[in-house]
């Protein structure tokens, strides 16, 4: 069932491309704003780059996750999922997984504009950077999918989602900025081990909580 649901998420997105495309365009406009609101010079930006990157990712994640839940409301499609004889935790897991995939695709596409427009050097250890980024995406999306699942049927869901999400996700953002900052300057693993642990904790805890809670919050 998990794969049926995941296939549906990916197929719907493959058809419409509305989630990834809106995430990408929104991300680009955020980069533009960053670049215009600061004097782009390698010395200044290098310090802020990790923070900027993760702020952008967070904003973009909100757009994406809101969209993946709101198309479920058209034609009452969500009731096909929740009335089906399947564990609703799977709905959370597939929303989480697909959100993770869309976010990763969007990041892959936006990486070059981000580094080039803001004149940042690529990290010295690209594979470590990619690996940690994937884990951070996973953590952000775990919380974002859960909060979006809670807020989707509420009025003002587009407002409530970021208001609830940003404080909840703050540990991930701190950890993400620290990890990326360390990797950019080539710090050894021992420097950022603790942050990786925090990311992993978030993935495990919010994965479990989301899986459990979805049974109670998906009903109208």
């Amino acid at each position: 069932m998990f794969f049926t649901l995941l296939k549906k998420e990916l197929f719907v997105e493959f058809r419409s491309r509305e989630v990834t495309l809106s995430m990408l365009v929104f991300g680009l406009s955020i980069i533009l704003t960053f670049a215009l609101s600061s004097n782009v010079s390698p010395t200044i930006i290098a310090n802020y780059a990790p923070g900027m990157f993760w702020i952008m990712v967070l904003f973009v994640a909100v757009i994406g996750v809101h969209r993946t839940f709101s198309y479920e409301k058209e034609f009452d499609a969500f009731s096909m999922l929740i009335s089906a004889p399947i564990d609703r935790g799977f709905i959370f897991l597939t929303k989480w997984m697909s959100g993770f995939i869309f976010l990763t695709i969007m990041e892959a596409l936006i990486l070059i504009p981000f580094f080039k427009f803001l004149m940042i050097d690529f990290p010295l250890q690209p594979w470590i950077a990619i690996g940690t980024t994937l884990l951070i995406n996973c953590a952000i999306m775990a919380i974002a999918s859960l909060v979006s699942g809670i807020a989707m049927r509420a009025r003002l869901s587009e407002v409530l989602l970021p208001i609830l999400l940003f404080p909840l996700v703050s540990p991930v953002i701190i950890a993400a900025t620290k990890i990326s900052g360390s990797i950019m300057v080539g710090d050894p693993y021992s420097f950022w081990k603790i942050w990786l642990l925090i990311i992993l904790t978030v993935i495990v805890i919010f994965g479990l909580v989301g899986y459990t809670l979805f049974d109670f919050i998906t009903e109208e």
């Binding site: 049926t4 198309y71 009452d76 009731s79 009335s83 004889p85």
Partner: protein, 209 residues
């Protein structure tokens, strides 16, 4: 088959359903009637586990429907007002998905057959966002005839249909009735209700009148 006891539901403290209790026997067709806003659809959505109720208990085939495992609702099919399908997917894709999620996947050829029967031959590969009200209604009926169920909850099956469509739906409902399947149907038309139903439940002011 289905035993509903003391179901209550309010919206912002306004009671819509007030301690609703009734049973549906095996093979019985129960018609639900009542004014607009009487809570007919709400009742069906609660039984289908799409909407949460405030209190009450529902047994389906002697299993706890509200707190039991999801598999309890396997032989329960809800066909609501909205199509409950993805606008961007075609009729065939939607039916494939919905039937797979119910644990009873069906081959494309059979799906196409049913779509032909309900007069959707040429549109079966179009995204359902372009469907008219009547076409969506036919699609939902095709879904109901492909899915395997013991109790069908269907909300206004005749709405938006032309005469030909009405005849088709009428035929299907009678066929299912003959097969001894249980159904709960929300209807507005008194004569049709008397013709189809073994029993009529009237909901009035949140109570069964």
């Amino acid at each position: 088959m289905l035993s509903v006891s003391n179901i209550s539901k309010s919206f912002d403290h306004r009671t819509v359903l007030n301690n609703i209790t009734f049973h549906v026997e095996v093979g019985e067709t129960v018609i639900i009637m009542g004014k607009n806003g009487a809570g007919k659809s709400t009742l069906l959505r609660i039984i289908a586990r799409i909407m949460a109720c405030d209190k009450g208990e529902i047994l389906f085939q002697n299993n706890d429907l509200l707190n039991g495992s999801p598999l309890v609702r396997q032989k329960l099919l809800y066909v609501g007002h909205a199509s409950a399908m993805y606008t961007i997917l075609s009729a065939i894709e939607n039916l494939q998905l919905a039937l797979t999620l119910r644990g009873t996947p069906v081959e494309i050829s059979r799906i196409q057959d049913q779509l032909n029967y309900y007069g959707l031959t040429n549109q079966s590969n179009d995204p359902i966002s372009i469907y008219s009200q009547g076409m969506l209604q036919r699609l939902k009926l095709a879904y109901a005839s492909l899915a395997s169920w013991n109790l069908l909850l269907i909300d206004e099956p005749f709405s938006g249909l032309d005469t030909e469509g009405i005849a088709l739906v009428n035929k299907s409902l009678h066929r299912w009735k003959k097969l001894g399947k249980s159904m709960m149907i929300v209807l507005h038309n008194q004569s049709r209700a008397e013709e189809l139903g073994d029993r009529i439940l009237r909901i009035k002011k949140g109570l069964i009148a």
